[in-house]
Symmetry: C2
Subunit: 718 residues, 2 copies
Amino acid sequence: MQTMLKQRCQPAVGKQAKAVPAVAPKVGRARNVVVAQAAPAAAKVAAPTISRDEVEKCINAIRFLAIDAINKSKSGHPGMPMGCAPMGYVLWNEVMKYNPKNPDFFNRDRFVLSAGHGSMFQYAMMHLTGYDSVPMDQIKQFRQWGSLTPGHPENFVTPGVEVTTGPLGQGICNAVGLALAEAHLAARFNKPDVKPIVDHYTYCILGDGCMMEGISNEACSLAGHWGLGKLIALYDDNKISIDGHTDISFTEDVAKRYEALGWHVIHVINGNTDVDGLRAAIAQAKAVKDKPTLIKVSTLIGYGSPNKADSHDVHGAPLGPDETAATRKNLHWPYGEFEVPQDVYDVFRSAIKRGADEEANWHKACAEYKAKYPKEWAEFEALTSRKLPENWEKALPSFKPEDKPLATRQHSQTMINALAPVLPGMIGGSADLAPSNLTLMKISGDFQKGSYAERNVRFGVREHAMGAICNGIALHKSGLIPYCATFYIFTDYMRNAMRMSALSEAGVVYVMTHDSIGLGEDGPTHQPIEHLASFRAMPDMLMIRPAGGNETAGAYKVAIANRKRPTTIALSRQNMPNIPNCSVEGVAKGAYVIHDTKAGAKPDVILMGTGSELELATAAAAILEKEGKNVRVVSFPCWELFEEQSPEYKLSVLPADVTARVSVEAATSFGWAKYIGLTGKHVGIDTFGASAPANILYEKFGITVNHVVEAAKAQLKH
Amino acid sequence: MQTMLKQRCQPAVGKQAKAVPAVAPKVGRARNVVVAQAAPAAAKVAAPTISRDEVEKCINAIRFLAIDAINKSKSGHPGMPMGCAPMGYVLWNEVMKYNPKNPDFFNRDRFVLSAGHGSMFQYAMMHLTGYDSVPMDQIKQFRQWGSLTPGHPENFVTPGVEVTTGPLGQGICNAVGLALAEAHLAARFNKPDVKPIVDHYTYCILGDGCMMEGISNEACSLAGHWGLGKLIALYDDNKISIDGHTDISFTEDVAKRYEALGWHVIHVINGNTDVDGLRAAIAQAKAVKDKPTLIKVSTLIGYGSPNKADSHDVHGAPLGPDETAATRKNLHWPYGEFEVPQDVYDVFRSAIKRGADEEANWHKACAEYKAKYPKEWAEFEALTSRKLPENWEKALPSFKPEDKPLATRQHSQTMINALAPVLPGMIGGSADLAPSNLTLMKISGDFQKGSYAERNVRFGVREHAMGAICNGIALHKSGLIPYCATFYIFTDYMRNAMRMSALSEAGVVYVMTHDSIGLGEDGPTHQPIEHLASFRAMPDMLMIRPAGGNETAGAYKVAIANRKRPTTIALSRQNMPNIPNCSVEGVAKGAYVIHDTKAGAKPDVILMGTGSELELATAAAAILEKEGKNVRVVSFPCWELFEEQSPEYKLSVLPADVTARVSVEAATSFGWAKYIGLTGKHVGIDTFGASAPANILYEKFGITVNHVVEAAKAQLKH
């Protein structure tokens, strides 16, 4: 097959003599690879309707848009778009279903550029196929302030970009999340006797960097486990990374690893010119319905550049004028800078008509579905409207001080199970800590191969992929509300995914239990100290540490309401009382007075606390009041929300003239100076914890009522 | 072979009928597995010198020590020790080289319990074999305050524990680092004509959780690439994790994956009783010298417990009195709580004599080596003394204000290359960003299979494993000084490894370049905002952000000197001047005055800055002084070191009565209130960055001289 293709499809590239050995396996690791074969009869791929020369021209147009834009911006990564241009041509012109004029067309195939540094590849494809977000002037503004074409693809900037990529490995995990969302919704809503209303593929291009990152192995192990057959990943196997040839650090057999992960693996040996091979591979991938497919596409990075191809020089720096001229000559490209021949536009912009037809067909299918299944349609429409059901928050229970002391992780379980029935979009689970995180929805079974309609997801011990998969689920934009859970300490394993939630406006709910030394015997490897501070410092992350039942309800109310901002909820292992005046409304304000001086007297001292330590503040207040002090107690579950309140409100809670202030939280003092000032005192822990029962730890580390009382008294002496 | 073993080695377990099907592969993923075979003639394993019954008794002693200790502490994980006890017996009694009476015996085999929750397994082995750190009273104090037997193995608490584990996957990566250290030192020092002075194996037990974590795939891909033949990992394949059977989330073919990673893979089908199979597998592992070996050992979690074995009930909770009694009966264990029969001690404590002999032999080998290779011996002795060479810090260059402005990443390159010749222990590299991080030592080649003596390590795009491998290198305790590098933002991928450096007293140097929006066009996915704050909040991590050449020298001086505390150095992509009075000594104090008012006048305002923004502070000071203000400028490279200074020094830098304070740093304001107070002003960025040239970003986000001047003036109005 390969031989035949080579005869039919000679590349218009002078460097082929060099190119061929360069794509041949150098390190003997291609032995186990299945080579792409002619598509089986069952699989359908749109036949190419244009000549080989025209195809070549279209492919080169992609390459030169990338080259020119990167030269102009004096910054960027031309190597990937030059090597992957044939994949771009096949995917956008022959394979993918999308509507350039409506990037939000629900039933579109999702595309993820996991190798996000190759962003000009995606912008070139979007420009050529007619997305309004990427006109030529935006191509020319690549990587400039305020442009729609930033250095890495950003979904919150450029309509048509599904997810934000750049940190390697995140994108393929997002793709797993997108494919999970499709599988889930298809299983929930499609009916055997009408056309499916949820039916799309998820495509992803990833490179050597993504492959080396552990996060991709985590997510791809899950994708294989789940058998996500409509996930098709194209691995740009160019054997070059920033340090040079991958021989120096990456000699594993990737194809075999993916087979071990339960994937269907295909190898396209010459991804530079073998367009038919790419077509056949994608057809084969679609034919295998019970496994995700990895298409290993061997390419030359910077294909076409006579002096820089197949080297890391072309990875992350502009070609520059001389090499660009040489590449133009080498690829027989007579066109000027940013010049796209009309016949290339004519080919690619056929996508506009095709996309409109696809969307019209989908609307027709929806109409048929609605007629036959009005109830299900109403559910589908409600969900995908992405509006929260009316009065959903009324499902949240409330608590009285006399209610039983419980751990907030138990309250969290109550909230999840209160919300699951009224929020049909809720889907999620834990990284193998469900019995500890208490995150199972009792009304649902497990999302598994064969039960995609279920909503409890078993992520295994894979925190980083869990977060990134949830980002993909959220950014499927179908009304799903992903949540995920582990011990709070293990946010350290998934921090970049959480940051990407915040950056890319994915309203993931992070349910983080065992939030302090209150975890006890497991010891310092498992005890968060700096984590509250580290997330309070993160932009656009809501970090909530509730005290008791009402504040846990309030935390969920905030988390669910914020569909474009992630929320991390820190929850205790240990019990705490339901303190009077703690409220859902209070959480929404971030900080609020739960106990105040009599008759509005000016406080002598303000005690602030969060979560499991709030009770220490209230107990200390009682003692101090017996000694005649005027004490205010402030519950402080969410710093970000407090900062968003009016200056008047903030001053009403923390009057500037009350400088005697004590904060108590079983965590670092770091950051608290913002509220307690230079002279305030934090009762907490600035060292690592230790292994012992929780009550012993609180005592040994001095996080006690007495210490709060003493700190307050010391403040009052100032 | 397996059949034969079963005939010879009937387990004394009533539940075997159930046990056998439970360890048989349930999900068809054992097809590619190589079954352990008789040891080839070349491989030597100590023959068992005691009867089968005695072996069984020794193994059960391990199980019951774990059961009893966990019952007493009412907390812990009995399942793993019960399942892995046979591995413990074989490793500690027949395979490993160690000296219980000198846990620091240099040439010992290293053991890592990556499944750290099974800590009682390790404590049981250490107690039985006679480590002074784990007498019976410490076994009885398991997980109690101040004990030497904390919930997870902690190297800084318990002599004989090599590394701290618990966060899953870290341990196997540490083991890769330990094996790397051995391979490196062996290649550097051993001579063909004398006995090797560096010659040990690294053993690791890891479980399903470690296997699911991406970090383990990263490190094991490197171990395979490097061909670390003396790394032997035993995979406790018990098919149970906290959520239940691994069928629900982990159905990949692990053995095949490890083959793909370049490992030699062996399967011991019955790890519960097949001691001969374990012996043979380890012998085979040792015989394969050019690949690390994974021995997949299929076990029953909680083996011996009639009602809880093979279930997650036995994973993380005490057996309790009833089930313990039933297990005693089932395993025919007539002994009382914490009772170890003398003959069991007799067997295991033979390790004391064996260890002393091993150490004596090693000293003899060293003496021969010293006689023949006095120069090399002196080098070896100097290195492994773990004392820094005298005057090493004099290699650090100094800079004058008129010296060329450079990026601190360039200065960092200068420091690394200044130190590499005088610090023969320096070893490290980058996660595929060497040309950007500028971390190559020019005097060295690459550490690769065939060139283990070299010191530049190519980690590939595997940040998390990189950090954990460096922890292993540091905790080899042979004088190696590991450093590693990536873009600062990608600390988010490796945060737990960095925290483990801090917790476990591994003095790793983290070289983190591109430390702010000054990175420019790559955009917000690549621009740190909250990272300085997040590491300043982390206990025992030195976070340094130097300004110019002298402070970069100072940062390295601190980092190298702190051999028990990790240092993260944040370095710029962009150039900055060498500001007058910036000094090595200043860095050591954390913060210091670099520019002050004339004749000791009280400052009207204090401007503080770090790294690339310090020049904004000095420029602003010049403008304010022209307007007649008294201005002090404080360079603030390291908060932790400043906090360690005397109260007097701190007040001398930041006098309490000067409340007009401005900080400038291209990062979040979070945390700065500690130094600028409630009324101070931070010039920085509290949102995500953007994609544009760096100078544009500084202007758009308002991090400019003018903004510092304005902020100072606003302060002066108060």
